[in-house]
Symmetry: C2
Subunit: 110 residues, 2 copies
């Protein structure tokens, strides 16, 4: 009869997946890197940096924002996008805990 199926996914699973999904496109990884590299984090020129149109970049920014990876700040006419350090820390800790769990069970069949 086997184990019973979990009817759905946990909230943590859903929310983690949403963050990873947001990061799962080269353009969005590039946006993250550009935000970190840029002198100030006034980031309207992401559009100039990426090989994509303005609407497309705007859409990618929206996805990063709604997943909580970045935050936007209205700065006069422009908008300043920055990384959400709380989310980044959460993700770092998540992978840290995975490593801990891997090391705990040293029944390594692979």
């Amino acid at each position: 009869m086997g184990a019973s199926k979990t009817d759905e996914y946990s909230q943590q699973q859903i929310s983690l997946a949403a963050m990873f999904k947001a990061l799962g496109h080269p353009a969005r990884v590039a946006i993250i890197q550009f935000i970190l590299k840029a002198e100030s984090c006034i980031c309207g020129d992401i559009v100039n940096e990426l090989p994509l149109s303005q609407p497309t970049v705007s859409q990618h920014l929206k996805e990063l924002k709604s997943a909580g990876i970045i935050q936007g700040n209205v700065e006069g006419n422009a908008i300043c996008y920055c990384l959400n350090d709380k989310t980044v820390k959460l993700l770092k800790d998540y992978f840290g805990s995975l490593i801990d769990q891997i090391q705990l069970k040293n029944s390594n069949c692979c």
Copy 2:
């Protein structure tokens, strides 16, 4: 004239995005967690644990594997899937470096 567009994405950006994309689905996050939780890492019963058909689980496993998140080991009739600790460490370090970079530039406009 503004900055010139990067013609394409870097290999690092593409490869990071592929790993995140592989993790960007609740079923695949659940698979990771199950592999870690399970007594041994003989994992045919992932199918019994998840609310998905066997072909669908197999497909998710394939995606995780080809992104280098997990590895599969033939074990007689069954296959044992385990996390690739090298990849997990790489991702942990990636977020660690993001945090470092955030802290370096304390010109926080957000």
